[in-house]
């Protein structure tokens, strides 16, 4: 297969074959990270700009390590200290970045759609590392990669997702991605966190946390943002943990070989009990490991892979 997308902006714009191809490519990349010398020359001479307008630790580090393992030159700019802090518009900033001829811009932005708007204005590849509450495609892809690696398939699985769906780009991308790949996605949260028309993305809304996790193959917990309390989305962490936290008792309702995921960072004792987070069924750290391989695959496909290669 030849991957022809210029950008990776969201999961919606990828078809199932493209998703499978990305996951296959990422599995190949994973092996590189296990070598004593964790570096290949594949993207030597390529420049990757990490443009993170919003704070990020693990995603940015993951993209940065991925670039280095492929021998690309990566530079990171943040909003603080950049001209954006001086009032330059997003489009002006990226047009300036583009003038320095990068091959890929990885961007995270607090406004939904920012990466989409940028991608249609620049010639280089754009990888969306999270835009507002719209999409986080690399996270969803690494989650799909982790599940496929662990379960051998995605099709036919039951995925239970619990948390602030309304304000989560991870939730949107995973609902679309997993349902596209044939999983049954069930979501659960206080009704204040379930946005209008979410089922159109490819999920069902479970009546209770118990119904949601029963017979689940995979349980994905989303981070509860404490600052959301001021939006009156939930009364207290205490009540949230009691009604929607994943504990051992609820975990027991799922399939015996259930896998627990969390995109991080976790609030132990709120959405996930510590003993569950650390249990053998937890795949949370595998997700992080796979994140590097998946992002290497994305770089390869948009900047050095078959997009430029002759068809064989």
């Amino acid at each position: 297969m030849r991957f022809t997308k210029k950008d990776i902006l969201d999961i919606h714009s990828l078809d199932p074959e493209e998703i499978a191809f990305i996951l296959d490519t990422a599995m190949g990349m994973k092996e590189i990270s296990q070598r004593p010398v964790k570096k290949v020359p594949t993207l030597r001479g390529k420049t990757i700009v990490l443009f993170f307008q919003e704070p990020s630790t693990r995603t940015k580090l993951s993209f940065e390590i991925a670039a280095k393992r492929l021998s690309a030159d990566s530079v990171a700019i943040a909003k603080a200290g950049s001209s954006m802090a001086k009032g330059e518009t997003l489009i002006d900033t990226v047009k300036n970045l583009e003038s320095m001829r990068p091959d890929v811009i990885v961007m995270r932005h607090s406004s939904s759609g920012a990466a989409v708007q940028v991608a249609r204005r620049v010639d280089c590849a754009v990888i969306n590392a999270g835009d507002g509450i719209h999409a986080h495609p690399s996270q969803a892809l690494l989650d799909m990669m982790s599940v496929r690696e662990n379960k051998g398939r995605i099709e036919g699985l039951k995925l239970a997702m619990i948390g602030d769906i309304a304000n989560s780009r991870v939730a949107r991308s995973n609902i679309i991605g997993f349902s596209k790949m044939g999983a049954a996605v069930s979501i659960c949260a206080p009704r204040t966190m379930i946005p209008a028309g979410i089922t159109a993305l490819g999920c069902t809304v479970a009546p209770s946390m118990e119904a949601c996790v029963t017979d689940a193959d995979v349980i994905m917990m989303l981070r509860i943002q404490k600052e959301r309390q001021k939006d009156v989305l939930f009364p207290s962490e205490r009540e949230y943990a009691g009604c929607f936290g994943l504990n051992k008792a609820r975990l027991a309702l799922a399939k015996t070989d259930v896998t627990v995921m969390h995109p991080g960072p976790m609030n132990r004792g709120v959405e996930i009990a510590s003993d569950v987070a650390d249990a053998d069924c937890s795949m949370i750290l595998d997700q992080v490991t796979n994140g590097v391989a998946l992002r290497m695959a994305l770089y390869y496909l948009v900047a050095g892979g078959s997009r430029y290669a002759d068809t064989d």
């Binding site: 406004s111 759609g113 507002g132 999409a135 946005p195």
Partner: protein
Amino acid sequence: MQILIKGARVLDPGNMDEKKDILIDGEKIAAILDPSEALPSGALPSETKSSCAASSATVTSGAVSSGALSPRALSSGAVSEDPADIQVIDAEGLVLVPGLMDIHVHLREPGHEYKETIATGAAAAARGGFTAVCAMPNTVPVNDNAQVTAFVLEKARLAKGARVYPVGAISKGSAGTNLAEIQDMQQAGIKAVTDDGLPVADAQLMRRALEYCTGLSIPVFVHAEEISLVNGGAMNEGPAATFQGIKGIPNAAEAVMVARDILLSQLTGAHVHFCHISCKESIELIRRAKEQGIRVTCETAPHYFTLIDEDVKDYDTHFKMNPPLRSKKDREAVIQGLADGTIDAIASDHAPHSKEEKDLEFDQAAFGIVGLETSLPLSLQLVHSGVLTLAALIRKMAKNPAQILGMKNDIIPGSRADLTLIDLNETYTIDPALFVSKSRNTPFAGMAVQGRAVCTMKDGQIVFSAVKG
């Protein structure tokens, strides 16, 4: 100077709908003449006749030779005896209506002249077929005192475009705390009050404003929005917003304020006019209020019966306005409200913004679109699709707007010559490059439409003409 508009279908709803010649003398309509009686077609000079076209008006200044006027017409006393003083507009195939009025526009001056000035806005209005517009007070400074009102009127007087009726603020600085000097502004020339752009959040202030205006016979224009329900939203709440990850604004953000102000109108007896109504719930509330005899009127904007939230795609900020484009069901309710008379008027909510304010992240971009130069063609779609008769549309764009402001807008001898000549047939695509407004923020670029204004006349002066030469 006299103007003779020849051969148009003269449509003044409730008054007349027939082929007539209209003679304008100075600022006034002098006579309404039966075409065969006034100027026999055989008497017209050939160059005027040959340029007749169903799709365009021909203005022929001083081209009427003395032989062109029959003695009978002259003896009617209406037509000037000096042919050089007569300008003949051949309006064969066109419709002449009372001047269209857009009672909700933002002209941005003073303060934001980079977006629009009174001169460019008045010219855009004239090009769109409007002889008069109501200028919202949310300028910098706010039109909350007679000095700003006088400034707006003076700029409008110097502009060669549509008439401008200033609308004053309800509260000082539209800050929602103290009443502005409404009576003083009324003496200076405002025709209504509003804090448009912002709601009057304090119900007691609104109650007092309504009571105060009852004594002045001036309507209160309500921007119905409960800010706490908007909560940072940037488009209609629903599946389209959820899919794109854009924070939603529920219908209730508008409708709860409509409900409140219907009750306050009932309490005070004041005339409440609801601006830019966008959703089903508001229309149902207003319909019920009208049935109960409460003094409410309302307007909608062309985008609410033309587009829906599903049209908001690829984070194109030209589709971002407040209230937002609603669901399909809401658009149907707006169309129904127009058809059954619940919605009295169509107003564009012309909201010019610079490219810099629109070319931003979706949640950061300014709300609003320009509308003066697209309002008539978009509204004519309602006629072409059979939702409204042409007469009903002209009521909503000319007669009712005047009535809401407590004015008359008739084609009768002696009334001022504010007239719009419309070509119902010309098909074309909307091209923002041709706008005379300073701003181009429209979602309608490239849309195919049918019909447009070809000549706009204010006080007997032609302020826009699509005729070449």
